[in-house]
Amino acid sequence: MRSEKRTMTAKKWFVTFLITAALLCGCVMLFNYATDAFGVFEHDLFDWPSYEMTLNPRTAKLSWLLKHKDDYDSYILGCSSTSSFETSSLNEAYGARFYNMIVYGADMQDVEQQAKWLLENCEVKNLLVNVYLDNATIYGAAGRNLTRLMPWQMTGEGAFGFRLKYLLCNPRYGWDKIAKSAEDTYLTQSFDVFNEATGCYNKIVRDAEPIGDLQEYLEKYPGFVNYPSRQMHTGAGALEGTYKSLAAVRDMCAERGVHFEVIAGPVYYKYMENFPREEVEAFYTGLAEVSPYLDCVLTPFSFDPRFFYDETHFRISVGDLIAAKLGEMNGYKGTGPVFTGHDGLSFSVSGSDVFEYVTSQTVSERWERSWNLADALTPADGSVAAAAQTADVEVLMYHHIVADEEAGEGDFTLSQFEADMAELAASRCNTILPQDLIYYVEGRWDIPERAVMITFDDGYLSNYELAFPVLKKYGFKATIFVIGCSVGHTEHYKDTAYPITPHFSWEQAKEMTDSGLISIQSHTWDMHQWPPYEDKPDEQVRETLIPLAGDSEEGYREVLFADAAKMEEEFAQNLPGSALFALAYPEGQFSVLVTETLQEAGYPLTFSTLPGKATLVRYLPQSLIAVKRDNAQNRQALLW
């Protein structure tokens, strides 16, 4: 017989409800506390600062500084475009240890709150504020969204109420943090866009992209074309607030003897066009009343999309030039952009001369010139402005050359090569070397008219025996990309019994570089392997630089770094006095991970086999990545 069901009294129901609701709430709070997706709870249970900063840079950067503030003594503050001031460049400019406090959507109220906390809680030697045109339109727009809340330490709000919001937030934030941690890799992904140690956006992917021709850039980033024009205005309230907060930061710095500097960051010209000119000028004039500032607003950089990641964020390479100017202004050495790996001559960067320190006396005159510049550089037909200085270079690629009497079908013969050289001479071409490209981009050298680079891949003996005499005859310069491990191998492929097309030796290489006509550069040490001859069963075959299917990003980088180190070592030993800074991708193949890692491995200049003329852009190091080359051995016409 069924026993009578035990039902609940109302009192018992109510108590059960309270306990259940409390338990559920408790679970949510505990989970949110433990996962701490916004970095507000200051514990180390699940620390992932770059993820937390991506969710809310305001809170997570504070958490970071609470633990690491002794690592820094200087700060730069502002909205997201401030991120393009790399701390390494600022450190060099000021001889300091910078942290970049940028938070997305920051207005001057955020900046004032951050500055106040920094000055009261940290050692501060320099405090830089980057002011953007948006500061004339937005002020005090602090969001209620968890991703935009200022931490309680900076607003003076109570800790309990602030933390309660995060304790009771959607557990999906914490859950996503757990899920994404499994997907985290070396390259930047949408969920970890910050470099926690510098505070900057992690732009390694965008900074490793090849850039040259403007049209190609516009095709890749169509946001610059048909840029939406809107009627925008500065707001009286925003202006007042911005000036008030900036003055407060200025005064706080003055009280404590902290060096204070205002930078007015670059604005893309199309965005500027949305505002009436007199309002823009009034905004910056008011700014100069509050503090003199380094004016970078409208310079030639503003008139070329290639200097911008998108319509609002200028590139780090421009930020580096501004940093150089700041260093110069403050009596430090202004070294500007540093490209590692080349022969390291010291020079001053003329590109930073376009930035100007303005005061309330000089501001109107500066703006008169800025508007003149705008009139001169804005295309009348509405097309996209292209103010960057560029130079075109025809880079020719050769491999093995065969003496005419030994030539088989399809071989490239000495007489063909001689004919090419004769054509170059007849066309009055100027042959240049890899360092010339770098010098051009750095701004201290001009590429001559009808510039041609002659390049050879692999390092065949025929380059020495057959091509070198011809080059000498014409006085032509050329570059040979050698496979390091094959140098000097005339009979066998590496340590195998397989026959090989002979490669020249280090001594022969030295003889060529000593002539001043030849630059020896890298085609990798041993990452251009020939699969049929690589019969060691346990080892992976790397025919090109493209990562293999099983490679992790970190693992691949180690392989590439090791290969580069070996090349560097052998190079230093065998070709003393020559600099190694350029590399041609085996088979011309590359990826983002490849270009990014090569930059770190000491190759600011790399060559692809993408056809067409190479376009170099002055002050844009990305134009030295994957430089285009034409295969001269199977061309109908050698030159353009």
Binding site: K5, R6, T7, A10, K12, W13, L24, N170, R172
Partner: protein
Amino acid sequence: MALTSPEFLLLTAASVLLYYLLPGRFQWPLLLAAGLLFYCAGGGLTVLYVIAVALTVWASALLIEARRERRRLISTLCCVLNFGLLFVLKYLGFTLEMLGVRSGLSFVLPLGISFFMFQAVGYLIDVYREKYAPERNFAKFLLFVSFFPQMTQGPISRYGQLAPQLFAERRLDFEDLRLGIQLMMWGYFKKLVIADRAAVLVKTVMNDPWSYGGFVQAWGVLFYCIQLYCDFSGGIDIVRGVARLYGIDMAENFRRPLLATSLTDFWRRWHISLGAWMRDYVFYPLTLSKAFIKLGKKSRKAFKGRLGKMVPTSLATFIIYFIIGIWHGASWKYVAFGFWNGIIITASLLLAPSYERWKTRLRINGESLWWRAFCVLRTNVIVFLGRYITRAPRLLTAFWMMSRLIADPRPSELRAKLFGLGITKYDYLVIVLSLIVMLLVEFYEEKKGSFRELLAKQGAFVQWMAIVLPLLIIMIFGIFRADYISSDFIYKNY
């Protein structure tokens, strides 16, 4: 302060706790304080409007009692004053615009003004009719006007029903707490899980109806019907639940309107308190007025038979729905909405005998399930078409959208864009499953009676599950919905 905000829950919890801790005589002042706090938190100084409405009505009621011979004048003056205020705040801008005057006038509309004003005026008319003796204590009357759960979106309560409960001294009854919490959970389920989710799709389609074909637009309107019902009735459930926590029983405002068999039936089931208010304070006085009686006599002379008898009733019905229409808002589309309902209901009144004749001729059994299902479907289609009018950005757009249903339906577009209208596959699943649950409960209640009583008879585990599951579902699919920003109650400013 939205009914879904943590602040509202906090205010409710704190006031309920205090309510039962305080001695009985402090209970109603506590409710008053909570009401004013609630209103100030949401509307700031517009609380003065509430006080003004309460004060004029309270004073007029006392005056009516003191000077019965002038009661007509007093009540008329008071109504003119209050409805005048409502007119200025809500309709003046629209009226001037209609007259071609560009005034640029705009007022901060006090939250729920249409609700609390109708409630107050209803009391005045009842005092005028000597249904009740007027309330002497202003604070008590103010509480009647500003009882906080119902302030912003109704229901429109009657003095005789609500006031005695408000002022009674109560002791804690856990049954009230259980019922209150259950009602609130049911309301939050409808509001947060269904309505707020459907709202995303509605917004996507209705913000830019011009870029869609007729089917996608209809899909948007269909989801608007779902949203509106779940949002409004869910809100009312929350209100009734909160009131119940203080032991106060509030009249139902919805009685399963989806199951209505005619448009008249629909309006008896949808927003019941508004319909009842209109019936008692507008329809009856109108039909019993001298003018209407005269009209009746004339029409019976002019038209023979049924039609002649129906003219005054039809006219009054028409007027009622016109008022209900513009009660919703100051815009042509609400005027049209009033006409839409008025025309259909008047027409069905006039044509009722013909329908009956057809039904007999076609040998349709009016009691059969199929006939009832047909009627329900027919009613829902009419309601659905009416929603085009209220939800379209503008009146003309509504007609244009209806025409597109035939002229440019683009059914393939609906298939292609189904998951590109702001909500995901998973959202559809949540909405559909939730609707099934809701409809099953409604069917049960329509046929068998209280679902809650059924639940109370179950064993402890089932009852516990009936706590855990709703809480989990509301939390996961409601509160923590992706990008959770609860859209405010749609009816709040009406």
